[in-house]
Amino acid sequence: MSTTSVPRFVRADGPDKVTGSGRYTADLTLTGTLVAKFKYAEVSHARIARLDVSAARAIPGVFAVLTQDDVPDVRFGPFVQDRTLFARDVVRFEGEIVAAVAAIDVPTAQRALNAIVVEYAPLPVVNDIEAALAADAPLVHEGWSQYGAADVLVRERNDASFASIAKGDVERGMAEADTVVHSRYVADGCHAAPIEPRAVVAQWEGNKVTIWTTTQVPFDARAGVCETLEMPASRVRIIVPHLGGGFGGKCGFHYEAHVAALAKATKRPVRLVFSRREEFIAPDRRREGIVFDFETGVKADGTIVARKVWLAIDNGAYTADAGFFSQLAAMHALGPYQVPNALAEAHLVYTNHQPSGSVRAPTAPQTCWALESHTDEVAKAIGMDPVAFRIKNAVATGKEGPSGQVYDEIGLVDCIEAATARAGYGDDLPDDEAIGVAIGWWPSFSAASGAYVKIDGDGSGQIITGAQECGTGAVMTLRQLVADELGMQPEDFELVYQDTSAAPYDMGATGSQTLFNNGRAAIAAAGQIAEQLKQLAADMLEASPADIVLADGAASVAGTPSRSVPITELAGIAAGGELLIGHGSGVPPAAQEVSGATCIGDVGMTAWVAPQFSCHAVRVKLDRDTGVARVLHVSTAHDSGTIINRIGATGQVEGGVMMGIGQALTEGTRYNDEGQQRNAALLEYKLQTCADAPPIDIHFVEINTPNAGPRGAKGLAEAPNVATAAAIANAIAKIAGTPIRQLPMTAERVWETMNTEGSPA
């Protein structure tokens, strides 16, 4: 199967970014721009006894101070409408916005924040996920039952979304098992931590507003502005300059409406630029902490007969896009295994923490970490090699997964075999080293998406797309797809993107969906132009359009290359007649119907379109004296369907693995007793650095995937982040003699575990 159609791939946005000529949102300056600053709650749970902004408003140079009284009183949220732009009556986490200031400069804005008077009456802080589920636990939202919410959600007090997946008879399955293994794991929350902090600039002209913003999802951001400021979509334009990373953290609707409201009130452009601390505490997008309880029943021959999982996800103070996390986590907790009798129950629990939301493969890395650690415990309990155990029980082509989906052509077992072989699994290692193995999965997300393509009179082309480039290279790859379709070169096309008023809808840089869906749209748009070019060439060359081939920048008659005309010449002709304009969308692939399981709180996460699979085998060295673990080598194998842009795909795997190493070892939010983050800074929240990067071996299992994206591609951006932490955990457990039950597996936690009485180490 052909994989890469060009040997060299130069990103269209690469030179701008590398040379510094590219412009990011914070770089934009419009005449008369004011500075925006937010007043945050700082406390985790309290009733606002008094809020007085009059002194702040009176400061010279302060143009506006806004509170919830100054904007439409709209409750919003994609799953549960539990949030307002500014705090109304109650603050529920430290990063909640109480007021916003627009001032002439930063010091004046800061003085205004200091002059805002807020008095709080403390409310009990809900700081523990499990305690929050107790019948008598303090409520994070007293009025939860009155909120609007998606009909499918099952809600009760602090439980914002309960989901279960039940298949077969789990109790009977357990009774039939020769061995039942029970495990508990706890994953701390962590952050997307993009290097570019959030920024928003808004400017009004008449009754229309243009907002430049650091979003991964421009159309979603627009919808948020429309909903909260009560405006039609046609009067809101979202433009995203270059985006400095997102990792999911910049999905959703954030501060666009706040800044637009300030700009409207002041009749001036207004710019908001976050500090690193704000980036840590305020957004409703951080990776959720989860508590897990697993029970797996297994036969002596290694056959899984039953699995029971209970898990509780830290929703934080507001639901953001986490409404579907319960069912998604339940799927990941059952895992890519053939489980005939399964029961997974998942709760999404309100706490007084920063809200959770989609960060690169939401719920998956930490759930995979817990499940795969448990899986090694199960294999160990029956004395079976953990890789052999996985191969025996993994889902495979034609086999039924835990939700009842029967899988088409998939390559999970190929991934396990490739990753372990390439890692040298089974070879002798020093006694302070081990190879841990884990498998993961992730859906491809099918969605509506659109693009235009045009070729101007000089033969140069433009792709005008609603898709968003957040660094993955997915939008950049559109040039390759369109060029291939038209027999042209990627460099022949400029990209016009990240502007909601220029291009048709796309869901944005979320769910690894850009190439999967927008690639389909761009190919369809290019296809229309291809038809036009063939007709023009056919007329000139006196041939049938069906016999015209587009290749190497020319249209020629099949089998007679001498009868040929350059595409630039055809473009010149078209410029005086019917213009070369194509538009495309295409039909999104449909999910399979699933009938094997009973699901409560079903948000459509049990049947996956073009599911992706992966296996990571990681060699780790452990310093037994200090608990410091070091990743020496990572071997990866991914079934993400056809790889279209190999350089971009490689970058995604490398980035996903590095993020996974951070999640495994050093990245985790620490809370104090009041629910406030203790390490909201890059010095104390330790991302991995280039110096920490091990060699990463990358292998793609490319099999023919039915019902997938363009040329058989699946998604890829999130999948490489799923299995790394789990594989590291299994390596550490082998050396330490016991699993580390809390994520991140910091050096101190490893050391504590090894030195706890009764530990086998």
Partner: protein, 295 residues
């Protein structure tokens, strides 16, 4: 607010005498101001263009390292990285390549952080800081210089112009290790340096051990008995854990720090002894052996 660029030491000392604060690489001062740790001083005098502060002078008696010498130079200097390897170990771990290219030894010393990577090496090497003012010059040992976290005994008009280290006895060398959670942009969770002299019979005839990030200042460990390398390493570990006064914070608990500083002390003694015996242990030790090694 004023910013003066001094090109001679006298200009710098004049500026200090009238209340200015010195800035060399700015890697502590500017970063600290940005993070709200301390505002930028009202008057600054830049000392990075004073050539006298850039020299490394080697004599039979010892080495004089100008306060403006940066960490990159200390890491790679052929004499320092051989004869005073513990100091090079420390400089090689500071921040990132860009921090090491601007951050200076004098800045590190006068910032007086208990987590500074050059601190415990300087202490075990018996280094002295040369403090100069319009009033004169004096030399101060490290234990006397550092008085608390971010605090030192120099007067406001005194500039640290150089660090002096006496030539070690034959068959001596030093090493510094730190506990780190990542290999770049890191601050020592704990650290330890050792300077060791090996007698003809292979036993340790002199040892000094100092500890990083386990007390309000860098501290020296006392009462380590002599003996074989293994015995001294074990004694140093026990004494380090015993004498450390660590805090609990988001980086580590006091219990874990107390344990791991002993591990670092033991490894520092072992690495210093290997170097003293002429065995090559490359700079920094954190990348040469053990968990942080390159492969």
């Amino acid at each position: 607010m004023s910013f003066t660029i001094a090109t001679t030491l006298d200009e710098a000392l004049q500026a200090l005498a009238t209340g200015a604060r010195p800035v060399a690489g700015g890697s502590d001062l500017v970063v600290g101001a940005r993070h709200g740790k301390a505002p930028l001083p009202e008057h600054l005098v830049a000392i990075d263009r004073i050539t006298e502060l850039q020299c490394i002078e080697v004599t039979d008696a010892g080495v004089c390292i100008g306060a403006g010498v940066n960490h990159h130079i200390i890491e790679h200097h052929p004499l320092l990285s051989n004869a005073f390897a513990g100091l090079s170990d420390g400089s090689a771990l500071v921040g990132s390549p860009s921090t090491r290219n601007v951050g200076t030894l004098g800045g590190n010393v006068m910032n007086s952080s208990p987590a500074m990577d050059t601190g415990s090496p300087l202490m075990v090497l018996g280094a002295e800081a040369e403090l100069r003012s319009l009033r004169g010059s004096r030399r101060v040992g490290m234990a006397e210089l550092w008085t608390g976290p971010g605090r030192h005994s120099a007067e406001a008009d005194e500039l640290c112009v150089a660090i002096h280290i006496a030539t070690p006895a034959p068959r001596s060398n030093s090493a510094y290790l730190r506990l780190e959670y990542r290999r770049s942009m890191e601050i020592a969770v704990v650290g330890a340096a050792a300077a060791v002299t090996i007698a003809d019979d292979g036993s340790v005839s002199a040892v000094r051990v100092a500890l990083t990030a386990v007390a309000p200042t860098i501290i020296e460990v006392t009462g380590i008995g002599l003996g074989s390398v293994a015995e001294v390493a074990a004694a140093a570990a026990a004494a380090a854990s015993e004498q450390a006064r660590p805090i609990s914070d988001v980086r580590a608990s006091d219990k874990y720090r107390r344990h791991t500083v002993g591990v670092m002390a033991r490894r520092a003694v072992e690495a210093a002894a290997r170097r003293a015996l002429g065995e090559p242990v490359s700079v920094p030790v954190n990348r040469a052996i053990g968990i942080g090694a390159a492969s």
